[in-house]
């Protein structure tokens, strides 16, 4: 990857964040009640409202407000929550940490399930195993997170009493109970991604297994397992990186619902609370952080791709 290209990509991330900040700021500006009314309630006196508007700088033009807000964001200051009165940034960053933990666990579990499924389906193409994997992946992509989550709770928490139904315990406080609390959310988030990625691994591996170098490796008498794992899988897994990065978009959306259902204090739950309370600074910060996470994940995927496959030249 040339330095010029990397610079261009960084420029695009900045542009993305600018557009997202404009959209989110725009949407929150059109809301029927302004921040002062939300802070004081419908019955506030005109003087009190005027005083708060003055303090929050709401009398300035929308553009001035946007630029002032953006100026703060650049310095890491996302403003003060209307709901709690505390600075938004530290709360959101802490919440993001928990969400990323959820995402990371889910991606690891997903790879551990999806890659073997994809290999089996590709090797036994057209046979029963392939059909089963295909049916499973259709079911996987067709279940919304809230359905899978509720079914998991019903079976694993309610009937079998194996795991706690919801809640969050920090890893530092009680590692075993903490991990027990992670199992159901991680399972839920993985389901849709397993469906996507196993399909991707299958179709890539089917293509790769038809290529000349695989034929050559087979013809020179290399054991089938080595051909499959060392020559086939390595090349089939490359495009999977891109799919995983694109899935981060689904992942962040899914995290919103999953955190809400399992009462995990991550960024998704913070956003839902903020949206319900119309806490504008918190909504703006949360949405911007999510968009940034998505952009950075995709950039990282492109970097990894170029690094793993020297034939790829971005310019």
């Amino acid at each position: 990857m040339s330095p010029a290209y990397a610079l261009k990509r960084c420029g695009l991330i900045v542009y993305t964040l600018l557009v997202v900040s404009l959209i989110v700021f725009g949407i929150t500006q059109i809301l029927p009640a302004d921040a002062a009314t939300m802070l004081l309630g419908e019955n506030a006196t005109a003087e009190a409202l005027a005083a708060v508007r003055d303090r929050l700088g709401l009398d300035a033009s929308v553009w001035e407000q946007y630029l002032r807000w953006l100026g703060g964001v650049v310095q890491g200051d996302f403003g003060t929550s209307l709901r709690t009165g505390l600075p938004v940034a530290p709360v959101m960053i802490e919440a993001l940490g928990r969400s990323l933990t959820l995402a990371l666990f889910s991606i690891i579990l997903m790879l551990a399930i999806a890659v073997p499924l994809g290999i089996v389906a590709a090797v036994r193409r057209g046979r029963a195993a392939d059909m089963i994997v295909s049916v499973l992946s259709y079911v996987g992509v067709s279940l919304p997170e809230f359905v899978t989550a509720t079914v998991f709770v019903l079976v694993l928490a309610d009937w079998l009493q194996l795991l706690p139904a919801s809640g969050y315990v920090p890893l530092t406080q009680d590692p075993i109970r903490s991990l027990q609390h992670w199992v159901l959310p991680v399972l839920t988030v993985s389901v849709i991604m397993v469906a996507h990625v196993s399909r991707m691994v299958r179709s890539e591996l089917v293509d790769v297994l038809h290529s000349d170098y695989i034929r050559a490796a087979r013809l020179k008498g290399m054991p089938p397992r080595t051909v499959l794992l060392r020559h086939g899988l390595r090349n089939a897994l490359l495009p999977t990186i891109t799919i995983v990065a694109l899935d981060v978009g689904y992942l962040l959306g899914g995290v919103i619902v999953v955190e809400e259902i399992f009462a995990i204090p991550g960024i998704g739950r913070q956003l839902i609370v903020a949206i319900q309370a119309r806490d504008l600074p918190a909504i703006q910060a949360g949405a911007l952080i999510m968009a940034a996470t998505y952009s950075i994940a995709n950039f990282a995927a492109d970097l990894a791709y170029a690094w793993l496959d020297k034939r790829i030249q971005y310019d």
Binding site: L12, Y15, T16, L17, L18, V19, V20, I23, V24, I27, I30, L31, Y138, V139, V141, S142, L143, P144, E145, F146, V147, T150, V151, V153, L154, D158, G249, Y250, L252, G253, G254, I256, V257, E260, L271, I272, I275, R278, I283, A287, M290, A291, Y294, S295
Partner: protein, 274 residues
């Protein structure tokens, strides 16, 4: 058209998808007529019943018949999802085709902005819009339509770029046709096939998104028999009757699987080369 249908039925996905979507459409059209009970009639003595002879799928926390609620609720869930997807497709196709036609700087600017908007997860985008417009069924529809627009624009553009290079578009430019004429009359009709495939698959996603919004209390409002709402209510009574959860979940999954299969089948049927 009959030729397409024949090719569609020949693929296993297409045949299965056609059957599932057919059943769903049947429920949408005549569901309320088939419903054995009034979906909102309460029966305090018949609460939390499992499947049985009088109530085929059982009853919920107010003794309402679950089968009747599912049949009547099909309209709320499926029609809304289809309309939302069509809305997003229309906006996206217009934007993408126009972007491909304009080319150069305008195309670059439009697509970079579309990419930027796509970095907001659809669910979050829909949540923000619903919050802006107020919680209701129609606003959820608009929100999903708007949230789908950038993705559709991206696909429409890549197809339209290929069409843009065709001779008949150059001929139209040479004839001195206006831009609007070229986009609407020459290009749009030829980008339809891949867009139909994508739209079909997106309906599955819209059903899930719509149900999710209702589940979070931001879409259809109770006591309407919307499927996502039914799952949300069932969560409170898991230990009293798991059937309240299982049936609407299966219904949502069936619709989504049906449209996913139909979309994949259509892709194969419309694209005989692969």
């Amino acid at each position: 058209m009959t030729d397409l249908l024949r090719r569609l039925v020949r693929t296993p996905q297409g045949a299965a998808g056609l059957v599932l979507v057919g059943v769903v459409l049947l429920a949408v059209i005549v569901g309320p007529l088939l419903a054995p009970y009034d979906p909102e009639a309460m029966a305090p003595l018949l609460r939390y019943k499992g499947p049985g002879m009088t109530h085929l799928l059982g009853t919920d926390q107010y003794g309402r018949d679950i089968l009747s609620r599912l049949l009547v609720g099909a309209r709320a869930t499926v029609v809304m999802a289809v309309l939302a997807t069509l809305l997003g497709t229309l906006f996206g196709a217009l934007l993408g085709t126009a972007s491909a036609f304009l080319g150069g700087r305008a195309d670059e600017a439009i697509m970079r902005t579309v990419d930027a908007i796509m970095s907001i997860p659809s669910l979050l985008f829909a949540l923000l819009i619903v919050n802006l417009l107020g919680k209701s069924e129609v606003n959820a529809l608009l929100a999903i339509g708007i949230a789908f627009t950038p993705g559709m624009a991206r696909i429409a553009r890549s197809v339209a770029l290929a069409v843009r290079k065709q001779d008949y578009v150059n001929a139209a430019i040479a004839r001195g046709e206006g831009s609007l004429h070229i986009v609407l009359r020459e290009m749009l009709p030829n980008v339809v096939a891949p867009i139909v495939v994508e739209t079909t698959i997106r309906v599955a996603f819209a059903v899930m998104l719509f149900a999710t919004l209702s589940f979070l209390g931001l879409g259809t409002q109770p006591p309407a028999p919307e499927w996502g709402l039914m799952v949300a209510e069932a969560r409170k009574y898991l230990n009293l009757s798991p059937w309240m959860l299982i049936w609407p979940s299966l219904a949502i999954a069936m619709v989504a699987i049906g449209f996913n299969l139909l979309g994949d089948g259509l892709r194969d049927a419309l694209n005989p080369r692969t």
